[in-house]
């Protein structure tokens, strides 16, 4: 059923916070200020959600001389000593071995307006084959970029991962509108290495140790 612009506009505005957006409202917002790009098939957009697919860039772990992961001191150099970037072109695949872990990202570029947030839900069909995709990932209003996905093979058989395969969904919810666009550290288009070492909390924890 087609809604008029004013009808759909007022329907969106009248949604309470945390309400899942309908397909019609999603399409209206996609044409206005919600970005999930590119949408290759109209069927990607459903009630409340948009299917997302796997991108071409991955970060995988490798054996190295690093003896432990100590988050406060995990700088860029150490990160790269046990993780490396890999590009898998379209039409090729990445093999995820049993009990292996790899970071991927969404093919789609996402930009949320100030009054919409999202949740990443993995596709159950993959889950049944043993592939775990980032659980309950919350995407804040105003966020922009390609989402990093944590992929793990919990099964006993290697899994072929192909760029552009649909691996999950983004469920969109209305949110209390932010007053301004949050500033970013980066606008990611590929999976991100952890930046946990930048958490200012480590220094405070350290301070406790010294006083103890």
């Amino acid at each position: 059923m087609e809604m008029s612009a004013s009808e759909s506009g007022s329907a969106a505005e009248s949604l309470p916070n945390g309400a899942v957006l309908s397909k019609q409202i999603l399409w209206e917002r996609i044409k206005k200020d919600l970005v999930v790009s590119p949408i290759l098939e109209k069927s990607q957009v459903g009630d409340g959600s948009v299917d997302i697919s796997l991108g071409t860039r991955f970060i995988r772990s490798r054996r190295s001389k690093t003896t432990e992961i100590d988050f406060p001191t995990l700088d860029k150099e150490t990160n790269r000593s046990f993780q490396e970037s890999v590009v898998v072109p379209f039409g090729e695949h990445y093999i995820l071995h049993p009990r292996s872990f790899v970071l991927g990202c969404t093919f789609e570029f996402i930009a949320l307006p100030l009054d919409i947030c999202a949740l990443v839900i993995s596709r159950s069909s993959y889950g049944r084959a043993g592939l775990l995709i980032a659980t309950a990932m919350f995407v804040h209003p105003g966020w922009r970029g390609c989402l990093t996905l944590e992929l793990e093979n919990l099964g006993e058989i290697p899994i072929k991962l192909q760029p552009l395969s649909t691996v999950g969904q983004l469920v969109f919810l209305s949110a209390a509108k932010l007053s301004e666009q949050p500033k970013a550290k980066i606008i990611p288009v590929s999976p991100m290495f952890t930046t946990l070492n930048e958490d200012p909390r480590w220094k405070k924890i350290d301070a406790l140790k010294q006083n103890g």
């Binding site: 970005v35 790009s37 590119p38 290759l40 898998v88 500033k183 970013a184 980066i186």
Partner: protein, 483 residues
Amino acid sequence: MQGIDQKTYLDVFEQKLYSLRKLVQDLQRGLPPPQPEQFIQGLNLIIDAVETFLSCRIASLQGALAGNSDALAAQIAFHAKVALQVLGSVHEQCLPLLHAESQHNEYLFKPSIDRAVGLFTKSGFELTLIPDFQYNYAFDGKENFATREVELLERHSDPDTKAALAKLRNEAALKQWIVFLHFPVAERDSALKLCVLAHELGHFVDETNKIYRELLPLELDKTSFDELVNARCNTPAYGSAAASGGAQLTFETIFTRTGVQARCYLSCNEMLDRWIREIIADILAAHAIGPASYFAFNDFLACMGAENATSNSHPAPAFRLQLILKELKDTMGYMNSASAIDSVLSEAIPRVAAGAADAKYRDEAKVVHKTIDRNLASLLAKIRPVVSEYSFGASNYRSTVPKILERLRRGIAPIEVLDEVQGQMSAASVVGILNAGWELYKTDRAGFYGKFKDDVPELERLGSLNHLLFKAVEASEVKRRWK
């Protein structure tokens, strides 16, 4: 007379052959899919052909020169030297390309390049991007790679050798063109700077359409050519001082004037040939990607720290920048409005004109520059028709770039834009994406940088801009091709 016996030549040939084959196999093993199968097949064909050439020629010579061992030894040595030189060329020129191919997966904008080339040529081709440690962009195109080399060896063989080589050649099925586009590895993360690749693609379009042939023949400028020959003839010959009291020897007393003239003609010929092709590529790139070609080239020259000087292979940089700007203005309709991009381009004109007027030309460069200058209008008139259908003129710019730029300003990868006629999102044009990137960089960098936290270094913000452009080019290509 080198004093190296034929047995040594043959032994080292065998060893070189073995190590090259092994090297090709090892390099191939390290390549990710998709492999450059055409190039590898061509390499193996040349190596096999050289081996066949030498062994068959030796067999034939042993029959023909059975009674003359000195002549036979000399001929075997000669053929071995030829074969070793060819293998040396393979080692020096081809294997580094194979080695560089190990990173080709990184360049996901390659499908866009393949599609762009397909608009201008119907010839089959295999194209690879090569990150180079020389700070330069280059087009390296091999037409009829390997089959041409084998045919050449056939032409200089006896009937039995010819037949063996022809058999090898006929079993191969190689594409007409194998192309390598080199770029400085330091610029691999800059979509803005990599716009210079449009110029290198211009060379490919030129080669496949043989545009440069349409521009010839040209007559070298007489006055400057005669000046050059006279100057060379009167140049003192180094290390050749006359006997005491005698006049300093000049080249004219060692070589003939005709010989000096021949050398001057050869170098002018080569330089003119190269400069014309550079001009062709500059004009083709300007038409293909519009203002982005000027901006990227301008930045590249700045990056090189290049003086406004000519070289064997290129006209003076300012001359080329002036040519590109004139083409944008006079033929493509830019700089005729008060738009932001037109203002930036217009501001460059007097500066570039002053640079072009200041360029110094001497020797061969003077001859070639005068020749080109005299014929420039007719040269340009012959180049333009090739790209007129695809020219990214000012009206194309106005209808394409603003919507893309709007997305980019918001920090969104401009993969799609709303097609108001169709009422749906359609893939953004690659040329539009690149120009939007340059317009943002040149006119509203601060606005884009303002989207980042204060502690983010400026160059990382620029990095984000480039990442958005790369993402847009790659993903819009998928959108375009998705059925």
